[in-house]
């Protein structure tokens, strides 16, 4: 296993208050309204940030806690499945509309994106290995391009809350994001030194994130 990941993913307990503050900031009505007023900001800025908060939360847990959650959930694949179902829901235009129209639905989004997408994804991340992670990345990239195209090419408004030009703009941003993620992920595969250290896996045999 690669020492770089181990260092990068060491416990960062000081992060928890900072995360809470960021979450609170995003939830502040003016910030929330501003981000949700445009489809692009809603989908490309606010939602990924909520996911990132969840994954950062995972890193503020202790090693034992992480191992325990992974084992209790039934392993990394179960966590990945949970994250993909939860994120799929929030990709539906109807869900987006609901989040804009109803405060309760938006609250659900603010809780589920970090806890049911970001957190499980981060916990499953390292145990997935280069192969599993690569599969998640490549899927994400091709699906971002695909969904981006759907938004660009759609002859009608997919959300009641947003206009067609905003929709097309969001689509293009998804395509740009896909290209950026692709270049970054592939570029990251190029760098690195031969492994020097091996870290101890969880009792269940999964490498700790």
């Amino acid at each position: 296993m690669n020492a770089r990941y181990w260092l990068a993913l060491r416990r960062k307990p000081g992060m928890f208050p900072a995360l809470l503050a960021l979450w609170g900031l995003l939830a502040l009505p003016p910030v929330r309204y501003w981000l949700e007023a445009s489809m692009t900001r809603h989908m490309i800025v606010q939602m990924p940030l909520l996911v990132a908060i969840g994954s950062a939360l995972a890193h503020s847990l202790s090693r034992q806690q992480r191992c325990r959650i992974v084992a209790a959930a039934g392993g990394p694949l179960a966590l990945l499945t949970l994250a993909s179902f939860a994120s799929t829901y929030w990709m539906m235009p109807r869900a987006l509309d609901l989040a804009v129209a109803s405060g309760a639905a938006d609250a659900v989004k603010f809780v589920t994106l970090p806890l049911l997408v970001g957190l499980p994804l981060a916990l499953a991340w390292r145990p997935l290995g280069v192969l599993g992670r690569g599969f998640v990345w490549t899927n994400l990239i091709s699906m971002l391009v695909f969904i981006g195209w759907l938004y660009i090419a759609a002859p009608l408004r997919v959300c009641n809350s947003y206009l067609v030009d905003d929709q097309a703009r969001a689509g293009w941003w998804m395509v740009y994001a896909a290209a950026g993620i692709f270049a970054t992920w592939l570029g990251a595969l190029f760098v690195g030194k031969p492994p020097a250290t091996v870290d101890t896996p969880c009792a269940a045999g999964y490498p700790a994130i």
């Binding site: 690669n2 280069v130 195209w149 090419a153 759609a154 002859p155 760098v191």
Partner: protein
């Protein structure tokens, strides 16, 4: 100074998974060659199956051959790369299983659903069959390609994982420290460099391929979601061209690994070798617009790029490998047997096959030659006599009973039949192309038929030779399972 002494590699048994790949290759290759022969005989008006059946066979021949070239290349890469890094057998089998599912879907789409929109599934043809096939048939074919691509993506990701686990990153696997710094003679072996290159380009190609396939699947049922046909063509050709190119870069590993065993001379990755593979890693991804030179609506810079990179990329790996093979063999005292012969001739086939592409990659020439049989002439030369010759050479090598084993007369005859047959077959295409005979025509004008007949005769020779190769491979399969010396020592060198 780099240290380039020959160290005999450890011989090892062929894994069951690799043999499963090779057996699949043998079966699919033979079947697809037969389809090819039938197509050629139809053009030669020796038989009459009709245009519909011709296009069904053409669709399966294209998809099947490209797919099986991928499987055969993957088998060679996995077999030799396994000496240097730890690969996953589960992923190896998963790829084969997904391949078979994808092929079954394609066959079903073609023979049951009557889909015959060619392996390139060029937009908007699959969704505009004018009643000849249903959307379901087209969707099954496209989904089959998606399944097949997913298998290869997993396979490549596993190679990436294994390379990173051993070398730390793909940069090191591509020999960057030696390329950009001091060549300490410790660059990764050619097999590792080639595998890293193939992994990078194939991952990019497969992701692009998956995106366009998903888009076309939606468009089939909801045509209001329009696709820009030029964009679709660019994406499809990028995917298809990179993927088929990568197959020969995988198969050439057989040359890098096996020829040194016959000549007792090392094939090391020196700076020039590394430079050429690194350059091609980039160039292979930018060369595909040479298929689009006819599409004047493409941005001009893309066409110029296709022209220039098409010229440039013809050379690095080909010359480094061809020249490398020549100096390896020259006065080495190599003992020629079926494996070493097929591998040596594959260098010739590859080089000869690249030339027509080089010529056709010139914009002025392309105006006239594009979409003529010149193009199948080009790729059948480098695929049949280059890529597939490497695969047959590998099959002979892994099943060789003993180092000193002598080949039977029938194998040697089959070798010559294969070489002469492939050249004749490809030249008949090339000559017809020069005479402006269009490609992908089921029915030919009377004036074209003589070339078709000559081509058919040579194709029969190729199929006959391939039958012998495959028969020998299956008959000697058991020998692949033991770890014995296979390459005879060069003359004048103690074994």
């Amino acid at each position: 100074m780099a240290d380039y002494n020959y160290v005999a590699p450890q011989e090892h048994a062929t894994k069951g998974g690799v043999l499963a790949y090779l057996l699949t290759t043998a079966a699919v290759l033979l079947l697809m060659m037969l389809f090819g022969l039938v197509m050629r005989a139809e053009q030669a008006q020796l038989i009459s199956i009709g245009a519909n059946a011709f296009y069904q066979l053409m669709t399966l021949h294209g998809a099947g051959m490209v797919g099986i070239a991928g499987i055969a290349g993957a088998a060679i890469m996995w077999h030799f790369l396994g000496q240097y890094v730890r690969l996953s057998t589960t992923v190896l089998y998963a790829n084969l299983a997904l391949f078979l599912v994808g092929v079954a879907m394609a066959i079903g789409a073609v023979f049951i659903g009557n889909f015959h929109g060619a392996w390139t599934f060029l937009f908007p043809l699959p969704g505009n069959s004018m009643g000849l096939w249903s959307n379901e048939a087209a969707a099954t074919f496209l989904a089959g390609m998606l399944v097949l691509g997913t298998g290869f993506l997993l396979f490549q990701l596993d190679i990436a994982r294994a390379l990173i686990a051993t070398y730390g990153g793909l940069g090191r696997a591509l020999g960057w420290p030696q390329l950009f710094g001091h060549d300490d003679g410790k660059a990764p072996p050619p097999t590792v460099v080639a595998s890293a290159m193939v992994t990078v380009v194939n991952i990019v190609a497969l992701v692009v391929g998956a995106s366009i396939l998903a888009m076309m699947l939606v468009n089939l049922y909801y045509p209001e979601f329009a696709i820009d046909p030029l964009l679709a063509k660019g994406m499809i050709y990028f995917f298809g061209h990179v993927f088929i190119n990568a197959t020969i870069y995988m198969a050439v590993i057989a040359v890098y690994e096996i020829l040194p065993r016959y000549t007792h001379r090392p094939w090391k990755a020196n700076k020039i070798f590394l430079l050429s593979w690194n350059c091609s890693t980039l160039m292979v991804m930018f060369i595909f617009p040479h298929h689009l030179l006819m599409d004047f609506a493409f941005p001009k810079w893309m066409l110029v790029m296709g022209h220039v990179i098409g010229y440039l990329n013809t050379f690095p790996i080909l010359i480094v490998t061809g020249y490398g093979a020549l100096i390896l063999v020259y006065r080495s005292g190599i003992v020629w047997d079926m494996a070493s012969r097929l591998l040596a001739v594959s260098m010739l086939g590859w080089a000869a096959g690249a030339m027509p592409a080089f010529i056709d990659g010139t914009i002025r020439v392309n105006y006239i030659m594009h979409n003529t049989l010149w193009v199948p002439g080009h790729f059948h030369t480098y695929l049949l006599l280059g890529m597939v010759a490497m695969v047959f050479g590998f099959m002979y090598y892994v099943t060789k009973p003993a180092a000193q084993h002598k080949d039977a007369l029938i194998d040697r005859l089959a070798y010559w039949a294969y070489v002469v047959g492939s050249f004749g077959f490809a030249l008949a295409f090339l000559y017809a192309g020069k005479e402006s005979v269009a490609r992908r025509y089921a029915e030919h004008l009377p004036a074209w038929v003589p070339y078709d007949r000559i081509g058919t005769a040579f194709a029969t020779l190729v199929v006959g030779a391939a039958l012998v190769f495959v028969g020998r491979f299956i008959a000697r399969l058991a020998h692949a399972r033991s770890a014995h010396l296979r390459a005879p020592a060069p003359l004048g060198v103690a074994a």
